[in-house]
Amino acid sequence: MKPDHTPAILATILAAVVVGGLALPQWALFILTIAWAQGLVVLGLSLLIRAGLVSFGQALFYCIGAYTAGGLARAFGIGDIFVQMVAGTVAAALVAFVLGFLLARYRGIFFGLLSLALSMIFYGLIVKSEALGSTDGFNLLPSALFGIRPAAAWVRYAVAVAATCAALGAALLVHRYLKTPLGQLAPAIKDNEIRVEYMGASVRYAIHVNYVIAAALAGAGGALTATTVGHIDPEMSYWTTSGEFVFIAILAGSGSVVAPFLGALIFGVIRTYAFEQSPYTWQMSMGIALLLAIVFLPDSLWSLFRRRKGA
C-alpha cells in the first residue's frame, strides 16, 4: 500500500504558516488568508467536479456564509472568527440540504445552470433588501479569537493562523472522507452512473452528500472572507464570483486535497501582480492564464507534481 503523505504535508504547511507568518508583511498575510478562504470553497467544488458536476453557483453558499457571519456580527456583536465560521458552515449546509433534493437529479450543463439560477435568485434578493445594505453591503467588526480581540498589529497574523488551522482541518476531514466507500463513488458516477446503480449504490444520495459538504465548505470560506475583509456585499453571490471558483478548481484540479489551496494561492498571487502591473488589463492576464491552463495542462496543475513523481 502507498504511504499516505497528505497529513504530513498539511502539518508542514501549518508549521510553515505559524513560523513564516511572523516574517510576512500584513498584505501577504491578507492574501494568504483570502486564498485559504477561497481554497475551502474550491475544495468543496472539486468534490462535485470529481462526480462530473460543475456548479456555476457555488457563490450562493459562499455568500450565505458571509452574510451569516455578517449578521451575527451586526445583530449580536459576535466577532469571534470560529463562531462565525461554524455558523456560516451550518447555514450553508442547511440550505444545501434542502436544495440538494432538487439538484441531485441534475447532470452536466443543467446542474451548472440551475445552480447559477439559484445563486442569482439570492443575489436578486439581497441587492434589493435595504436592511442588508442593498448593493453596498455592510462592514463587520474586526475579528476576535475565543473572545479575545488581538491588538491591531496582530489581527492579520492571528486570523491567518486561525484560517490555516480551519482550512487544513477541513482538508484533512475531506481527505478521510474520500477514502470511505461513499467518497470513492464520485469518479465512478462521472464515468458511468447507470453501472453505479447496478452495483447497488444510490447515485442521488452520493451526489446529495457531496453537494452538502461542498456547500458547508463554501459557507466556511464565505464567513472567513467576511471577517478577513471586514466588508460584505451582494457581489459575493454574483455569477462572476462563481466563475472565479470554477477557474481556480480547473487550475488546481482534484488530484489532492492540498491542490485547491495551492491553486487559490497561485490565483491570488497572479491576480495581485496582474492588478499591480496593469490595473486595466488584469482580467486579460487572468483570462490568458486560464486559457493556457486549459490548453497545456488539461489535467490541472497538480498533474505537474504527479508526473515528476512517476518519472
Binding site: V54, L102, R105, Y106, G108, I109, F110, G112, L113, L114, L116, A117, L118, M120, I121, Y123, G124, L125, V127, K128, S129, N192, I194, R195, W239, T240, G243, V246, F247, I250, Y280, T281, W282, Q283, M284, M286, G287, I288, L290, L291, I294, V295
Partner: protein
C-alpha cells in the same frame, strides 16, 4: 387596473430587446453545443461600435435618419472582424472537449475581451441619444414611449421570421438541421461542417452585437455592460429550451412580461422574479419548455 396597458407595452418592448440579445446564444448552442459566454462581450462590443460609429456619423453632419443603418453596420463589422478569429483561432481546437471545458474557454475569452474593450475605447462612457430621440414618441395609458422602441419590436419580429424562414425553407437551413442532428454523418455525406460552424458562430455573435448596438442609444455605454446580459440571456434561453428558436422567443416573452409586471407592481423583486422563473422551469422541465429529452446512455 389602468396600469395594465403600460405593463403590456413595457413587457413587449423588453421582450423584443431580450429576444434580440439572446437569440444568438440559442443558435450557437443548438448547432455547436457551446454555451457561449463571449456572447456578453459581443453585446458590449456591438454597443461600443454602434455608439462610436454613430457618433462619428452624426458629427460629420450626415443624414441622421441613416444612423440606424450605421448601428446595424457596426454590429456587422464587429462580428465579421472578431468572431472568425475566435472560432478559427481557438474554439475549433476545443470541439472534442467536454461541454463544460468549452464553456470555460469562452469564459476566459470573455475576461480577455472585457479588457480589450477597455484598451480600445477607454473607460469613459459613450452617449449617442440622437437615434433614440429622432422619431418622436407615442402615448399609451398616459405614459409616453419613444417610437424608437417600435424599431426594436420590428427588428425582433424580422429576426425571428427571418431565422425561421432560413431554417425551414432554404437549402442552407435544411443542411444546417442535418448538421445539428448528426455532424459526423453530415460530414460523411459531403457537408462542409467546419464552414457551418464558422458561419453559425459568426451569425450568433452578430446577433449579440446587434442587440448591443441597438441598445447603445438608450443607455450610456460603460465598461462591464455585457456582464449582466450574459446571465439574462442564459435565463431567457434556458426557459425556452437550449438550442430552440421558438423557445428563445417564448422565453423572451415570459421574462419580458414578468419583469415588466414586477417593475410596475413590486419593483423590489425584479431580479428575484426573473431567476425564479428560470429555476422553476429548470425544476419542472429541465430541458426548457421546448427542449427535447435525451435518452440515458449506458
Amino acid at each position: 387596473m389602468s396600469q395594465l396597458g403600460p405593463v403590456f407595452v413595457d413587457g413587449v418592448i423588453y421582450s423584443a430587446w431580450l429576444f434580440i440579445a439572446a437569440v444568438g446564444l440559442t443558435l450557437v448552442y443548438g448547432v455547436m453545443k457551446i454555451l457561449n459566454v463571449t456572447h456578453g462581450s459581443f453585446y458590449a462590443l456591438g454597443a461600443y461600435a454602434g455608439a462610436s460609429l454613430t457618433g462619428a456619423w452624426l458629427a460629420k453632419g450626415y443624414a441622421p435618419m441613416l444612423s440606424y443603418a450605421v448601428l446595424f453596420g457596426g454590429a456587422v463589422l464587429v462580428a465579421l472582424v472578431v468572431a472568425p478569429v475566435i472560432e478559427r483561432g481557438l474554439l475549433r481546437f476545443m470541439y472534442a472537449k467536454d461541454e463544460v471545458v468549452i464553456l470555460l474557454v469562452t469564459y476566459a475569452l470573455f475576461l480577455i475581451l472585457e479588457d480589450v474593450i477597455k484598451l480600445v475605447w477607454g473607460v469613459n462612457p459613450y452617449f449617442v441619444a440622437e437615434p433614440y430621440a429622432l422619431l418622436g414618441s407615442f402615448e399609451v395609458g398616459g405614459l409616453k414611449y419613444p417610437t424608437y422602441n417600435l424599431i426594436l419590436v420590428g427588428l425582433a419580429l424580422a429576426l425571428a421570421g427571418g431565422l425561421a424562414w432560413v431554417l425551414r425553407a432554404t437549402r442552407v437551413g435544411k443542411l444546417l438541421l442535418a448538421v445539428i442532428h448528426d455532424p459526423e454523418m453530415s460530414r460523411a455525406l459531403g457537408v462542409n461542417v467546419d464552414r457551418f460552424y464558422l458561419v453559425t458562430f459568426t451569425l450568433g455573435c452578430f446577433l449579440a452585437a446587434l442587440g448591443g448596438s441597438f441598445t447603445a442609444p438608450t443607455v450610456s455605454v460603460v465598461p462591464g455592460l455585457g456582464v449582466d446580459v450574459i446571465v439574462l440571456s442564459f435565463a431567457v434561453v434556458v426557459i425556452g429550451g437550449l438550442g430552440s428558436l421558438p423557445g428563445a422567443a417564448l422565453g423572451a416573452v415570459i421574462v419580458g412580461l414578468v419583469r415588466s409586471a414586477s417593475v410596475h407592481y413590486l419593483p423590489q423583486v425584479e431580479l428575484f422574479v426573473i431567476y425564479s422563473v428560470m429555476a422553476l422551469v429548470l425544476a419542472f422541465r429541465p430541458r426548457g419548455l421546448f427542449g427535447l429529452a435525451e435518452p440515458r446512455k449506458i
